[in-house]
């Protein structure tokens, strides 16, 4: 058992261990929405960043009038078969910001599309996609970048697009909430994962290192990044387009007003 340190990190903790994290910033997770509600009511002096629960068939109406305004992160484990279930969460949008965390596994794009169609934000849980998955990932990127029905963010695309747009460095570890300096994942047994992934030597010289930070070289250091570089390049190009659009628009406005 690790005692919570007084850091700026947020602790991702199982609901049953919440009372050990009084005074801390926490992400509270559970498989059960009712357990989250019960713990929120019983444990004081915690700063809840968001609540996280797994998509199951369990009724979530208990969350509609509890913890109003606290963001909810709903985690799909098998998106290809679970995506229709997203309809049952749309009522929660009236009282909570909602994000759907979707693993990048075959068929995940249907869940992304429906989540965005229901006005949910999306976080992709990506590891080292093979060629087939990369094609699906690129189709989702195309959807995110170019469809006017998309009004919500899809992470990690969104933060990277911003990073390119503002010409600022970023870290995929941070964006995916896997940087233990920022998010400390506490297991059901109360153990903390603290190991920081290091940049791989083979990544030096890569044009995207200051954003990827070797994310895609874990766990397999031999992973071929050519496909994922296409994703980065598309985002960089899109950011350049947006910048150009905005400059053109601003110039047009100046002409119109003069």
């Amino acid at each position: 058992m690790v005692a919570p340190a007084q850091t700026l990190a947020v602790y991702n903790v199982p609901a049953k261990l919440l009372d050990q994290f009084r005074g801390c910033d926490v992400i509270v997770r559970s498989a059960s929405p009712q357990e989250l509600v019960d713990r929120l009511k019983s444990v004081e002096n915690v700063r809840v960043r968001f609540l996280q629960f797994s998509a199951t068939t369990e009724d979530t109406s208990c969350l509609e009038s509890c913890g109003t305004g606290i963001p909810l992160d709903i985690v799909l484990h098998d998106p290809a078969s679970q995506y229709q279930q997203l309809y049952s969460y749309s009522n929660l949008l009236d009282t909570h910001p909602i994000r759907i965390t979707i693993p990048v596994v075959p068929g995940f794009s249907k869940a992304v599309k429906l989540a965005i169609s229901l006005q949910f934000a999306v976080k992709l849980d990506v590891q080292q996609p093979d060629e087939a998955l990369l094609r699906e990932l690129e189709s989702v990127l195309e959807f995110y970048l170019h469809r006017s029905v998309v009004n919500q963010s899809i992470e990690f695309f969104h933060s990277l697009l911003f990073s390119f747009y503002r010409n600022e460095p970023a870290s995929l570890w941070e964006i995916t909430e896997k940087d233990p300096a920022l998010v400390r994942y506490v297991s059901a047994a109360g153990d903390e994962a603290l190991k920081q992934a290091e940049e791989r030597i083979e990544c030096h010289g890569c044009e995207f290192l200051d954003r990827c930070r070797s994310y895609f070289k874990y766990p397999d250091a031999n992973y071929n990044c050519d496909g994922i570089k296409r994703v980065f390049r598309s985002l960089a190009n899109a950011a350049a387009e947006v910048k150009h659009d905005l400059e053109t628009y601003t110039a047009t406005e100046v002409v119109a007003q003069s």
Binding site: R49, F50, S61, E64, S65, P71, D73, Y83, Q84, Q85, Y87, S88, S90, N91, L93, D94, T95, P97, R99, K110, K113, L114, I116, S117, L118, A121, K123, L145, R147, S148, V149, V150, N151, Q152, S153, H158, L161, F162, Y165, V242, D245, L246, Y249, T252, E253, A256
Partner: protein, 394 residues
């Protein structure tokens, strides 16, 4: 269950004063008493308390709503406002009438209770809307006179129009001219027809060729862009679609909500509760229950097998092919009652799918054109989206 706002379509009378051939309602002579209204409001507020809901919108219609006299509404309004004040609720009211029985004695309550606004219905050309003792032309003449009288009194009028084969033959330009130039309204919307209720010859002719109807909507979009957009003329759902594609701010009609079961219910004069006015007047097998007799609305909605079908509909039909559609976000499989009345099952996508696709494509293109020309004084949709996405709470 339904977020922080609740809506009911309330029918205090099931009786009507006209004889429209395509009406989906099976009429009765039932009328809600003020005591029954009090019971309805109490149970609705109880439900809102249990669900943590503050706001209520009541859409008043019939039957024909103006068969209930204005003084009944004066007392109903006081009853509702007093109850709302005691229970800490906010209530808005909307009125939908055929305007055939309109008289200036309605003006006071229309201003006090309904924000000086009335929704009505008329088709162009009028084929199916008829009086009990008179033709469609007679109906149109009375309607037009009453609408123009109300407009002259400063009442805002919105019109719902249902196209027929003659509408498609006349074309979008003539329809627009009839409502805007001839009648003088600045807001109308087009609803697609469906053969609800007891069948007859007129209802068998309601189905229109989806390609022709899609082309009609595309033409109407062009007419609106040319003649309505800059004059603040609202042509629904076209203008709201364009807003949606521009910056996501459009308010789309109930047929395109993610799930109408999350949006509203309907209660008729007999106390029956169902999904909407289309269901509560004609399909007893889809009633959720009776609010006069039920212990509570929350339990009724939570346990009704009929309501469960509406709740489950999008999740069951989306995998059929809507999940592959570019416009899933706009439509979610469309309207249950249109599907049911044409197909005999609600677990299929809306039969007007092709029409909706044509409308969405046209509106998306129009939004791009308008954004480029800065008609909405906004940069491209993508930039708006990017700015909006910056303040995520996660």
């Amino acid at each position: 269950m339904m977020g922080n706002h609740f809506s009911i379509i309330l029918l205090p009378t099931n009786k009507c004063n006209v004889n429209c051939e395509y009406c989906f309602e099976d009429k009765t002579d039932d009328r809600m008493s003020l005591a029954q209204l009090d019971l309805v409001i109490t149970k609705v507020f109880d439900y809102m308390d249990e669900s943590g809901i503050h706001g209520l919108t009541i859409h008043w219609q019939g039957g024909e709503i103006m068969l209930v006299p204005p003084d009944w509404f004066e007392r109903a309004f006081d009853l509702i406002q007093n109850a709302a004040a005691k229970r800490g609720k906010f209530v808005e009211n909307g009125l939908q009438s055929n305007m055939i029985a309109y008289h200036r004695r309605w003006n006071g309550i229309i201003e006090r209770m309904f924000g000086n606004s009335v929704g009505t219905s008329m088709d162009f050309p009028n084929v199916h809307r008829k009086l009990f003792n008179g033709s469609a032309a007679d109906y149109t003449k009375i309607w037009k006179f009453n609408v123009q009288t109300a407009l002259a009194a400063g009442i805002s009028i919105g019109v719902i129009a249902v196209p027929n084969q003659a509408t498609l033959e006349a074309g979008a330009e003539k329809l627009f001219s009839f409502f805007v130039d001839e009648v003088g309204v600045s807001s109308f919307q087009i609803n697609t027809p469906f053969p609800g209720g007891e069948q007859n010859g007129a209802k068998k002719s309601l189905g229109l060729d989806v390609h022709e109807l899609g082309a009609f909507f595309a033409d109407l979009t062009d007419v609106w862009l040319e003649r309505g957009c800059d004059r603040a003329i609202s042509v629904g759902p076209i203008d709201e679609l364009v807003k949606t594609f521009t910056d996501g701010s459009g308010r789309l009609p109930c047929i395109w909500q993610a799930n109408c079961a999350d949006e509203f219910i309907s209660i008729d004069a007999r106390g029956f509760v169902a999904q909407c006015d289309c269901w509560v007047t004609s399909y007893p097998e889809y009633f959720f229950g009776n609010i006069y007799e039920a212990g509570g609305l929350a339990e009724m909605l939570a346990t009704s097998p009929a309501r469960r079908k509406f709740v489950e509909r999008p999740g069951r039909i989306i995998p059929q092919d809507c999940i592959d559609c570019d416009y899933l976000a706009m439509c979610h499989g469309g309207c249950p009652v249109r599907t049911y009345t044409f197909r005999g099952s609600m677990f299929e996508k809306d039969p007007y799918c092709e029409v909706y696709l044509a409308m969405f494509r046209k509106a998306e293109a129009a939004a791009a054109t308008l954004s480029t020309s800065r008609a909405f004084k906004l940069p491209t949709p993508r930039l708006v989206q990017i700015e909006r996405r910056e303040s995520l709470p996660f």
